[in-house]
Symmetry: C2
Subunit: 270 residues, 2 copies
């Protein structure tokens, strides 16, 4: 099953646009827990509440080989009907991008990845040909530094809009989506206008403080779906104590229900 369909089904089954970012910071894990144990508990506590999981590879690479082993284990804990997005923001020249695609799709087996588009088409093509996988191109990110380059004006339009146009042009396999931060709602609304049917991966609610009602209204498509709203720290570290899993479940439930409250059709989604 392709990523788009798998995502649609998980959105419907769990009635959720919530994605939990599996970003285990070893300095914040409950005492004595390994990354894999922590992730296992988080997944068990939230698997009926999410449409996707999104491990960011940086948090695993920071622990070296042991961290990447923990990532492999983590992937085995995710129920097979929930898509997993490998958030690695890779981007390299064509010959090298082939290797990254092999790593993300064939070695780790992610259903989708995030990609940095700065190197242009030949850095994306080796991923595009995996037509059943999803590719989320960074368009307008949620961080303060996004303004340094992404907002620069080119022919009267900010650079991130040019990324959106290229994403539309390159979407011949219908497997491209965009990463658009929740912290800039105007930009989110504009990009949704340009790309009405693309899946959006929207980080920046929770710890980063995006305005949820506006994010849901502006970021979803006209059926109130097709947006993956990610929260990491606010769910993983809802409690730092032994009740972290229960607290994560409660935070995820609140996030899911909070999102659904603002969707155009909160029940018959997808």
């Amino acid at each position: 099953m392709g990523f788009r369909r798998k995502l649609k089904e998980s959105i419907e089954q769990n009635n959720s646009l919530l994605c939990v970012g599996l970003d285990p910071d070893v300095e914040r894990l409950p005492a004595g827990m390994t990354i894999a144990e922590f992730n296992h508990a988080i997944i068990e506590a939230t698997k009926d509440l999410v449409c996707a999981y999104k491990p960011n590879l940086a948090f695993y690479e920071a622990e070296g080989l042991a961290g990447l082993k923990a990532l492999e284990e983590t992937l085995s804990f995710v129920p097979s009907n929930i898509p997993v997005i490998g958030d690695a923001k890779r981007g390299d020249i064509g010959n090298t991008a082939r290797m990254y695609a092999r790593s993300m799709f064939d070695v780790f087996g992610f259903d989708a990845v995030t990609l940095n588009p700065f190197l242009g088409l030949d850095s994306i093509e080796p991923f595009m040909v995996y037509s059943k996988k999803g590719l989320f191109l960074l368009c307008r990110t949620s961080n303060p530094g996004a303004k340094d380059f992404q907002d620069l004006e080119v022919d009267g339009q900010p650079l991130y809009e040019h990324v959106a146009f290229k994403a539309l042009e390159w979407n011949v396999h219908a497997n491209i989506g965009l990463v658009v931060g929740a912290t800039y709602v105007q930009e989110l609304a504009r990009i949704r206008q340009l790309c009405p049917d693309m899946p959006f991966l929207i980080p920046g609610v929770g710890s980063q403080g995006g305005d949820l009602p506006q994010v849901v209204k502006r970021g979803t498509d006209k059926s109130g779906s097709n947006a993956i709203i990610n929260s990491s720290r606010a769910i993983l570290y809802a409690s730092g104590g032994p009740d972290f899993a229960e607290a994560a479940r409660q935070a995820a439930m609140n996030a899911r229900d909070g999102i659904n409250q603002y969707r155009r059709t909160s029940k018959r989604s997808g």
Copy 2:
């Protein structure tokens, strides 16, 4: 010793601006050889001819945990006086970039890294604070897709020049350099003009076909140094047979001498 000084000394000691890209494609290795064995032989054959080595992480990640183990082994084979650049082109929001910096500098122990600047300052800052390490920001890359975004005109100047300006502005620890492809000599000349003292990492000679005399003339600083000219495939796969190491040595020697021939001062470099 900081990266800049280590690089200066390796350039002088080996009278070389050549960097060998350690990008082992398992489909092209001599029969029966592991990645680590192959890299070991390449390093032994070229270590007196280079100013740096540059493993691209994609080629290791493509082999999963075994590949990353081979990368660790490879790093242990490099003589301690030769700087190693981790070519990973990472770029993520501040909180996550800290983790990538930890991975590249503390876990793997690279002397320098390549970074994708598309996410702006907070994606670079966690690396900048490692003041003894080198950071090479992608500025104008060597691939065809570079034109898709990097060449777009902002306020009368291409985007890559804005990256160069930001690199100058952010260079408070004097540890920032730029990646500028060898395949676009005009752009290379212009960026050198803007950043006369920055170290440049220049891929794209060899297989990608950059014009060597022009690259050396335009890419080095006014003393004919401060440029790291990378070749990967043309050296690693100079021969596919059992004589690959000897062929790599010969190709590296030709490349080094070819470069030196066009340097402003080919002897007293650095």
